[in-house]
């Protein structure tokens, strides 16, 4: 999938099995979210952990920061909070800011950013295919993983179809502007749906004729060895350690 965030590198993190990475990122995110927002030191510790993983995975900081801009709408929400929040207020540079709102803004920015960075590291070090295999090994219901497999496999095909149709429209003097394009756009989507649905039927018939009976055959390798689980547990264990230390201190 050419639009996925996967960053093809050779690193110990890339070599880990997908399921251990998914579990590590999930546990890390949960720990970050449940950490009380007043524990500033803990969040600094989490950021250090993320930096260590990024370095191990050989993911450049610039790459991460550029893609972390996906979070911008929530940063904007956070900027509004100190003004809109209730309760006690403080004066800062002549502006009256709500203390509760400031804490809320910090909470969203800190937890949101750490979560996005952790997800980006997972996406950067794991191919789409591996991710689905990982979900499958984590006992994700096979209906979901199979829908996902088909979706990911055909995403490029359909996106290319959509792009070709758009170029064809442009080549015929179509000038996309404001609302007048809605009709052409929507008719294009209709055509895209017909193409996808009919492709779906062809794919299904082709699969049936090759012996498909409702479940994809398992073709790939063994689940993660215990050593990988232990290695990847380092991230959640370290972050849990930071959280507990911060709470006790």
């Amino acid at each position: 999938m050419n639009n996925s965030l996967h960053l093809d590198r050779e690193s110990p993190i890339h070599r880990l099995s997908p399921e251990v990475k998914i579990v590590a990122v999930l546990l890390f995110t949960v720990i970050v979210v449940v950490t009380p927002r007043e524990e500033f030191a803990a969040f600094a510790g989490y950021a250090v952990l993320i930096a260590i993983v990024a370095a191990l995975a050989r993911v450049p900081a610039g790459w991460l920061l550029k893609r972390a801009t996906i979070e911008l709408p929530f940063v904007l929400l956070a900027v509004v909070l100190p003004f809109a929040g209730h309760g006690e207020r403080v004066e800062w540079l002549g502006m009256s800011l709500s203390v509760e709102g400031l804490y809320g803004a910090w909470n969203i920015v800190a937890k949101g950013t750490l979560g996005v960075l952790a997800s980006l590291l997972l996406a950067a070090t794991t191919t789409t295919r591996d991710l689905i295999i990982g979900l499958d090994r984590l006992r994700c219901p096979d209906v979901i993983t199979q829908i996902m497999t088909f979706m990911v496999r055909y995403l490029d095909v359909l996106a290319d179809d959509a792009r070709r149709m758009r170029i064809a429209r442009l080549a015929r003097g179509y000038d996309p502007r404001f609302l007048w394009q809605v009709k052409a756009f929507a008719v294009g989507i209709g055509a895209l749906f017909l193409r996808s649905y009919e492709r779906g039927e062809r794919v299904y018939l082709a699969m049936l004729s090759r012996g498909y009976a409702g479940r994809m055959p398992v073709t790939v390798g063994a689940p993660a060895p215990a050593a990988e689980w232990v290695l990847s547990a380092a991230l959640p264990v370290a972050s849990a350690g930071i959280a507990v230390t911060a709470l006790l201190a």
Binding site: V33, P73, F74, S119, P141, V143, M151, R166, S196, Y197
Partner: protein
């Protein structure tokens, strides 16, 4: 869904991020989402049996591809489709909800859009509430409105607006239960409803033209026409 360009990337987060709603409430809605999806899987299998995976996968890819097509609304602001109501009308509520949920999971894991801990919230709002509202409205409106392209289009438009706005109200309820910052819930509800009404109208116009286009070419592929009108048709045949 409206999103503003940030220069570096033309995709922006549109799903709830980590840390907006607290842990316990996120966990509760994760369970709600899991139960809802399990029900959808069971019903979708009745609709499609072993065809479910290939067809739903293609439809999910379709929704994803449609979401990638941004259209210019105003300079600097582009909109794109969410696809919930469209999916319900084309492939039915259960397959539709599953497709939207799959898109959300993939966006969360592969594109860092939507927090991992907020996945339950996002699925509940957009896949379950969105599809349920659209389903109820589409089923009701198709019985009331005239059986022509205009009626079908109006159904898609109304169901889209209501589905998007009520899905956004799902967020308001979740925020009221477990929001991490004290804010006036009334103000949030008003803002969310306002913004999402605009989004819903844009989405509804596109859904309407899309469904009418498909209905003209292959009416047999439109789930809403096959399933929600059957009693009426049967009656007509008997009469």
């Amino acid at each position: 869904m409206l999103s503003s360009y940030a220069g570096a990337m033309d995709t922006q987060a549109m799903h709830i991020a980590n840390g907006i709603v607290d842990g316990p409430v996120s966990a509760i809605f994760l369970i709600v989402a899991a139960v809802g999806l399990a029900f959808c899987v069971w019903r979708a299998k009745l609709d499609l049996d072993d065809r479910l995976a290939p067809m739903a996968g293609l439809v999910a890819a379709f929704i994803f591809a449609v979401q990638m097509l941004n259209f210019q609304v105003l300079p600097g602001v582009s909109g794109h489709l969410l696809g919930g109501t469209l999916a319900v009308m084309l492939v039915g509520p259960y397959v539709g909800a599953l497709c939207v949920a799959t898109v959300l999971i993939v966006q969360c894991l592969l594109f860092a859009d939507g927090g991992l801990t907020a996945l339950g919230l996002n699925i509940t709002n957009m896949a379950l509430i969105g599809a349920a509202v659209a389903y109820v409205l589409v089923a009701a409106l198709l019985r009331v409105l005239p059986r022509n392209p205009a009626g079908l289009g109006a159904t898609a438009l109304i169901a889209s607006v209501a589905g998007v706005v009520l899905a956004s109200m799902g967020f308001v309820v979740e925020y009221a239960l477990g929001g991490t910052t004290e804010l006036s819930i009334g103000a949030i509800a008003a803002t969310m409803a306002g913004v999402h009404t605009l989004i819903g109208i844009g989405e509804g116009l596109i859904a309407a033209v899309t469904v009418v286009t498909v209905a003209r070419v292959r009416p047999d592929l439109v789930y809403a026409l096959r399933h929600f009108r059957r009693p009426v048709l049967a009656k007509a045949v008997i009469a």
